[in-house]
């Protein structure tokens, strides 16, 4: 069953001087119990997309259907809140420093009236244990927890009203590898046991490969490649995806490592493809016309070069 469907989402940040087109038309969908990875460089519009879906900012156009209801109206927050939760990159900034761990986790459900007071407390303690924190921590101040513990606490807070979808906005980027792996294990457990869905935003492709079913590669406000994780990462079609995969630093290779070379092509920007100025294979058509999605098995690619399976 389709849980989230986003069509034609756009967003422009308006300034006195400039208009920044952060998101230029995004279509994506997440089924129940599925994890979609949204990957791309900093500044490609990943977080803007997530914030629009979580209703933290308002879109310019486009529709979002979540759990059967359209949530793009102004009254949207109520229907979203309980079922759609978000985990942020810097967990410490997303907590109120005045409260203890237990209170902070309980606060996740305080505006929905789902539990009685004692139930809520019990549920919170249960979740604190579930995410891998010690119960003795529950009276500690959030400020005294380490980054990884804090991130686990924010997952517990997101879980307290048993949501259907959790958005992880670079939630693992600030953590070191061993804690990262713990969070991934937790996500996989939630997916299996509770059929929970995730939108996992990251710039770490290796991490995305271990948890995501589908993956969407974003570049400059558009999705350039979208398909099953394994297909996209093992056989990338779009030149940008290839470049992105090349720049992942491998750990276990034998012999001398070759640092990825970036051909600084930098042609003049035309009216066509966004990636045209950097694309090593671009031709005149790319400069002139905006590409359209081409389907390859289950993957769709936004690139002219793929039309005849050239790449």
């Amino acid at each position: 069953m389709c849980l989230l469907k986003v069509t034609g989402l756009t967003k422009t940040y308006k300034n006195k001087k400039t208009n920044i087109r952060a998101v230029k038309g995004i279509d994506l969908s997440i089924n129940e119990g599925e994890c979609l990875g949204l990957v791309g460089e900093s500044g490609c519009g990943k977080s803007t997309t997530a914030e629009i879906i979580a209703r933290l900012i308002k879109e310019d156009s486009g529709t979002i259907v979540f759990n059967g209801t359209e949530i793009t109206d102004d009254k949207r927050l109520k229907c979203v809140g309980k079922d759609l939760q978000m985990v942020f990159q810097n967990p410490k900034d997303s907590f109120d420093p005045k409260y203890s761990l237990l209170e902070s986790v309980m606060m996740g459900a305080c505006s929905y009236n789902i539990y009685s007071k004692s139930q809520l407390r019990q549920k919170a303690l249960e979740l604190i244990r579930y995410v891998g924190l010690k119960e003795s921590y529950s009276n500690r101040n959030i400020y005294n927890l380490s980054g990884g513990e804090c991130q686990k606490a924010s997952i517990a807070r997101a879980l307290i009203c048993s949501p259907k979808l959790i958005i992880f906005d670079e939630a693992t980027s600030a953590l070191d590898v061993s804690v990262q792996a713990q969070i991934i294990e937790l996500m996989l457990r939630l997916k299996k046991e509770n059929k929970m869905s995730f939108l996992f935003i990251t710039h770490d492709l290796a991490l995305a490969s271990s948890v995501c079913d589908n993956i969407a590669v974003m570049y400059s406000g558009r999705i350039v490649e979208y398909g099953p994780c394994r297909d996209v990462l093992s056989l990338p079609k779009h030149p940008y995806t290839k470049q992105l995969i090349l720049s992942v630093l491998p750990v276990k290779t034998q012999g001398e490592f070759k640092t990825p070379e970036f051909k600084a092509v930098r042609k003049e920007k035309g009216g066509g493809c966004d990636y045209f100025p950097f694309c090593p294979k671009a031709d005149d058509k790319c400069a002139a016309l905006m590409p359209e999605f081409v389907k390859h098995n289950k993957t769709k690619v936004l690139c002219w070069l793929n039309e005849n399976n050239e790449v």
Binding site: S42, D204, P250, V251, K252, T259
Partner: protein, 310 residues
Amino acid sequence: MLDIKNLSVSYGKTRVVRNLSLKVNTGEIVCIVGESGCGKSTALKSVLMLDKNASISGGEILFDNKDITKLKTEEIRHLRGSEIAMIFQNSYLSMNPTKTIGHLFYETVKVHNKKAKKNQCLEKAEEIMKKLRLWETERIFSSYPFELSGGMCQRIAIAAAMMNDPKLILADEPTSALDVTAQAEVIRLLKYVKDNYNTSMLIVTHNMGVVANLSDKAAVMYGGSIAEFGDTWDIINNPAHPYTKALIKAVPEMNGKVPEGIEGLPPEFSDEKGGCPFAPRCYSAKDICYKNSPEKHVVSKEHIVYCNFC
């Protein structure tokens, strides 16, 4: 070049770095890797005495055969930025937001040489930046740090660090705040600097990819002391310490396998017990590990492990 011997650093009464010994030779990149809170940044900062709250409670830091711990504040200040340069995790936070990048380059030189002329400094900066493949120098010089992207600021920080031709560069998580493409670019730059200027580097990171692709030698740190030290390829391909093994297993790969986390939490520094700091999380720990500090074992030439069972 740099020889750290039995260094201990404390915050108040808590010993955060415990008997750390490390050597960096000329033209060599050494990476310190470990989890957050294992004391790696503290160790790095103590080389230049950057942390006012930390006090060195034992050991010595020899740089060019001078003991830095015994130098006066003035003398250390002279070392900073001229012979030993530092690159931070968030470079744009370490730059003055009210001054342009051009001024930053000028100031870097002027601090150590009052007669420096701005034109000459900028010429030199331009030369370095061209070598590091940073184009649009005019625009960069006239912009403020907050107008540039994180990756750009990090590359500028590397260029600025090279202004006084330092012998040693210290870098604290230079790539952790960057995305993969910018990360690859910074790694390329640091390698270029090492190959062309013969600069030594001591780099702190938690990213195993950075260690594998950049460093000549790696030091794995746990609970304030070194767990394993040796040639990078040796450490990654034949890790000896249980912690190193677990750390390498926790690195996600592109093949869709689920990385394995390390059970338990990193040790707290407040209660200093005897024995191996990794023992509570170690799968092969025995009683002796809780009692005695691990002994030094030499696996092969330049590959040292501190573990009782290696």
